[in-house]
């Protein structure tokens, strides 16, 4: 079983990202369970979402406390939230940031790190800082757990309120292409 | 049996004996102005300026018909006109002996009897009377139309003595007909057994007790489903003022906003009469109820009644009207409109319903109280039609009676001080004033 935790801010689509990823992973033949963390939904407030997948059916419907992978959709979030809490010491981090790895204060021992200027890409595609689909591309590039095709399929059945599907397809592609993997 | 017909009414006060009616009659019937042919006869009275009238009354049980040995006279069951068949008349004149009003008389010019036949429904005499002393009253055949309809309400219902709810329900059900679902939430109408007691029911239509709070919603659901399966079933509510203005208001308001196709009749007896006479939001200012009691400190209700009809008007219902069982023709006309309106949206009819038990009103004076309430402008009769945006008084009161004429009839106002009476008078005046202002502009609420 592989556990992923999304961090973002209200409005960035962390919950939707977890849902798209869940769909994409099912496309890849996996079993999934994804739930958001529950709070008041306000724009800008820190939010989290959880996703676990496995080749076997998953029974538990609980939050994720020791994620194997963390995806952070907002570069400023680590300043206010401990996004690394409980993280598998050998886990994977995928983060939206234009900063270089060296400029970040990252935990030691991470097995893989993917960094992507999702904000920049988002502004150029959407004109707004919606980073979720970009970061899914970044996750795909960083981990290889899911293909771009599967992600695109996952997005097809999702209702995007703010942008058309083709823009999100482009966002995933650019997230994939413009991620620096360490 | 028991039918009502058009009639020609004579107002002696307005007659000046000009005999234009006689001329018109002779002209219409014989083509000449010789008054010998007139079937309407104005006769001078004892004093100067006093005039009497001899005219066939088209009696309900006409003695002339019963006394005719030749079968020449008969009463038309549809028009009510007593007609004379020349070909069967033997000239015996027993009819002139039978008539107490000189309604059938001998015409010396023709040597035969003659009588009024209403000119086939458009009497020439009435049209000729410029002073309005003659009036062709045509509203009454509506009673016949309704009387011919099936009675869907059980005879003998356990309402309080004098209560008008049976009158209202019976007449309404006749008109809306059996293809109707009837809702009577807890209250007097359900309480008298409209839905039934212990397995017995009182109506021939489907009928049910909604909750006091959800009448409009339940009917809305049923109506929507029938619409879905292509059946046009009428939805009719008889709710008390509590079930409409108080605890039932949310669902009523919601249904009105959604334009649910319901005829919602609020039977406003100004309080919870069924549960022991407690106040509701439509209880008028000053009224005694068991929760607005009269004592050394309190003197009845301290607030005016919630103007629910106006509130429903503001919901832009398809049709909104106030009505009273003291003016049944008016009610009939409004119900006709409500039935049509409810094909498109909500029709709300607010029926003023004096309560002999809870108001301390002698049962015999109930209808009189209903009339007085209108004549005092305490319960003005008006209607609003969304389709045209028209709003009007259906029984305008040009010279209202003082409210004391009404208040003094009713025990629940017995304690009123002069100041309280003054308040009620001012409230009545203000209310009519407000309605008038509404009517002065087209009520284009839909825009």
């Amino acid at each position: 079983m592989y556990e992923i935790r999304f961090h973002g801010r209200g409005g960035q689509g962390a919950v939707l990202a977890s849902k798209i990823l869940a769909k994409a992973l099912v496309e890849e033949g996996k079993h999934v369970k994804a739930i958001p963390a529950f709070g008041f939904e306000r724009r800008g407030a820190p939010v989290a979402a959880f996703l676990r997948y496995d080749d076997q059916p998953i029974r538990k419907v609980t939050n994720i406390y020791n994620p194997d992978c963390i995806i952070c959709l907002d570069p400023t979030l680590p300043n206010s939230v401990d996004i690394y809490q409980g993280m598998n010491p050998n886990g994977v981090l995928v983060m939206a940031t234009k900063k270089d790895k060296k400029a970040l204060n990252l935990p030691k021992g991470l097995s893989k790190i993917g960094l992507c200027d999702a904000f920049g890409i988002a502004l150029s595609i959407f004109g707004r800082p919606i980073t979720n689909s970009i970061m899914l591309g970044s996750l795909a590039r960083t981990t290889g757990m899911v293909s771009l095709e599967a992600l695109n399929k996952g997005m097809e059945s999702v209702a995007f309120r703010d942008a058309a599907l083709d823009k999100n397809v482009e966002a995933v592609r650019r997230g994939y292409e413009e991620t620096r993997v360490y | 049996m028991g039918r009502s017909y058009h009639t020609i009414a004579f107002d002696a006060q307005k007659c000046n004996g000009c005999q234009e009616c006689e001329k018109a009659c002779a002209q219409a019937k014989a083509g000449v102005t010789d008054l010998v042919h007139s079937r309407i006869k104005v006769s001078p009275g004892r004093k100067e300026g006093e005039w009497g009238l001899a005219l066939c009354r088209q009696c309900a049980q006409p003695l002339c018909v019963m006394n005719c040995p030749g079968g020449a006279l008969s009463k038309d069951p549809v028009s009510g006109v007593v007609s004379w068949d020349e070909s069967r008349c033997v000239g015996c004149k027993l009819c002139t002996l039978a008539c107490a009003y000189a309604g059938i008389t001998f015409n010396q010019a023709t040597g035969q009897v003659m009588k009024c036949d209403f000119c086939g429904g458009d009497p020439a005499c009435v049209k000729s009377c410029e002073r309005g002393a003659l009036q062709h009253l045509t509203g009454s055949d509506i009673y016949n139309e309704w009387g011919d309809l099936e009675d869907l309400f059980v005879p003998g219902i356990s309402a309080c003595l004098g209560c008008n709810s049976e009158l209202l329900v019976r007449h309404t059900l006749r008109r809306v007909g059996p293809n109707t679902v009837v809702a009577t939430p807890p209250g007097c109408i359900a309480g008298v057994g409209a839905v039934g007691v212990n397995g017995l029911t009182a109506t021939k239509t489907p009928v049910f007790h909604p909750l006091l709070t959800n009448t409009a919603s339940m009917l809305a659901g049923a109506r929507r489903y029938y619409n879905r399966i292509g059946r046009d079933v009428t939805m009719l509510a008889f709710a008390g003022d509590g079930g409409a203005a108080d605890v039932g208001f949310q669902s009523l308001s919601g249904a009105a906003e959604r334009g649910e196709q319901i005829i919602f009749i609020c039977v406003d007896n100004e309080g919870y009469m069924n549960t022991g006479v407690q106040r509701s939001s439509t209880t008028p200012y000053g009224a005694w109820t068991s929760t607005t009691p009269v004592g050394s400190v309190l003197r009845g209700k301290t607030r005016d009644a919630k103007p629910l009809p106006i509130i429903m008007l503001m919901h832009n219902c398809e049709y909104v009207a106030t009505a009273s069982t003291a003016y049944m023709e008016d009610y009939y006309q409004k119900l006709e409109k409500a039935i049509l309106a409810a094909k498109k949206g909500m029709a709300y009819v607010h029926v003023f319903s004096p309560c002999p038990t809870g108001w301390r009103l002698p049962p015999a004076r109930l209808i009189e109280a209903g009339r007085k309430a209108v004549q005092c402008n305490l319960m003005p009769l008006w209607e609003y039609e969304s389709a045209t945006g028209d709003m009007r008084f259906t029984h305008p009161v040009d010279n209202p009676l003082p409210v004391t004429d009404y208040l003094s009839m009713i025990g629940k106002y017995r304690h009123l001080s002069a100041e309280q009476t003054q308040h009620i008078q001012e409230h009545a005046d203000r209310q009519v004033d407000l309605l008038r202002k509404f009517m002065q502009q087209r009520m284009d609420l839909a825009v």
Partner: protein, 420 residues
């Protein structure tokens, strides 16, 4: 269970009025209406006009079959009742059939009274009470050139006029000293007589008949005054006797009319009676009186029906008022109430107008300030208005003078004001 709730025997004016009154109060109770005739209901009053040709014998019926269907009435024609048994609540028909009832109304009317005159029974004579009589009279008239009529009542006078108009030589023989003695005073009777005389009708008044003989071409009539008359046909119109026999042997005597109370009850359990079969109280003195007029039959029928149906609105019979209208040779007349009274004492006051040039006569009789009787020949007064003024005992008070001066106008005004 009886077969019917209401049994009405007789389908003329009293029976029909009762039927309608019952239905006003009881929409559903079963009603059976019996007529001894095979036809639809008709009025005996129309018969002189059938005979005269004024009315078409096929178009005199008062009600059609549909009417009975609508009223929910089982109308049985050709059903003569031989016994109306109060104890058993059962009617026995001539056919032997029985009908059980809860309440029954006897409205069988009357039949011509044949006076006990020597030889009359051996002589073929005509009467006029049924449609069959009228038809027989009419066909008899066609082959006759002369006729003798016994009786100068309404039937006799109507017959005389018709026979006269048909070209027959007509003689009317009347025991009393004037024509229509039941309705008109000497003055009015005299005027009527003159008009008949002018048309060639011979009127022998105050002339009792001693005997009648049949002869080769008709019959001969001998009078007490020694006069012998002969004619092709003879008609008897000397009054009627009630058809009451079905109540015989139940302890009442109806030979002069079955006596009824204010609600038309006969005294026999659940049996009412109305119309020409009854005797009822007089409006003026409460004494039992036989009225035998159509308007009274209607009044009584209505009260009987309402009483039978227990209509809470039933009003007691105010008493019989003598009244009638009579038209002859283009003239018209009426008589209501105590019209024959003459001024006597302080109370009774008579107001008379007689205009010989127009054959016009008008008489109003007052008792104190109430109208009690009226009579008119070619008068413009409204007999119906006057009847109701008499019946309602309208106190004229200070209107009396105006009424006496303008009875037509003030009468109409008064009734207009009384109208609800």
């Amino acid at each position: 269970m009886p077969d019917t709730k209401y049994l009405i025997v007789g389908s003329s004016h009293a029976g029909l009025a009762a039927l309608e009154a019952i239905r006003l109060a009881d929409a559903e109770g079963s009603i059976t209406l019996l007529s001894k005739e095979g036809s639809l209901p008709y009025s005996p009053t129309v018969l002189p006009y059938v005979f005269s040709g004024m009315a078409d014998a096929d178009r005199v019926f008062l009600r059609e079959d549909d009417y009975f269907k609508q009223m929910g009435v089982d109308f049985k024609r050709g059903s003569a009742v031989t016994e109306l048994n109060a104890q058993k609540g059962q009617a026995v028909l001539e056919t032997g059939e029985t009908i059980g009832f809860q309440k029954a109304l006897l409205a069988t009317g009357a039949r011509p009274q044949v006076p006990k005159i020597e030889g009359l029974s051996d002589c073929p004579f005509q009467v006029l009470r049924t449609l069959a009589d009228a038809k027989a009279l009419k066909s008899g008239m066609e082959s006759a050139r002369s006729a003798i009529i016994l009786g100068a009542g309404l039937i006799g006078m109507h017959a005389a006029e018709s026979l006269c108009e048909a070209g027959l030589q007509v003689t009317v023989v009347e025991m009393a000293g004037r024509v229509l003695p039941g309705y008109f005073d000497a003055k009015a009777s005299g005027m009527i007589k003159s008009i008949f005389n002018e048309h060639g009708v011979k009127l022998l008044l105050g002339s009792p008949v001693t005997h009648v003989v049949a002869n080769h071409n008709g019959c001969g009539v001998s009078l007490e005054n020694g006069l012998d008359l002969s004619a092709d046909m003879i008609m008897v119109a000397t009054g009627v006797i009630p058809n009451w026999e079905c109540l015989e042997n139940q302890g009442i005597d109806g030979a002069q009319g079955v006596l009824v109370d204010d609600y038309m009850r006969t005294g026999l359990k659940n049996i009412w009676a109305a119309g020409d079969v009854t005797r009822s109280k007089s409006f003026f003195d409460n004494s039992p009186t036989y009225s035998g007029t159509l308007p009274m039959a209607v009044e009584q029928g209505r009260i009987a029906g309402a009483s039978m149906a227990e209509d809470p609105g039933v009003k007691p019979f105010p008493g019989a008022v003598p009244l009638n209208t009579y038209s002859f040779f283009g003239n018209r007349s009426f008589s209501v109430g105590q019209a024959m009274a003459t001024a006597s004492g302080k109370k009774t006051e008579v107001n008379l107008i007689h205009i010989p040039s127009s054959n016009s006569y008008q008489k109003l009789v007052f008792n104190a300030d109430r109208l009690v009787g009226a009579m008119g020949i070619n008068s413009e007064l409204d007999p119906g208005v006057l009847w109701r003024m008499i019946e309602r005992q309208v106190e004229l008070g200070d209107v009396k003078e105006a009424f006496a001066a303008k009875p037509k106008e003030i009468g109409r005004l008064l009734m207009n004001n009384l109208w609800r």
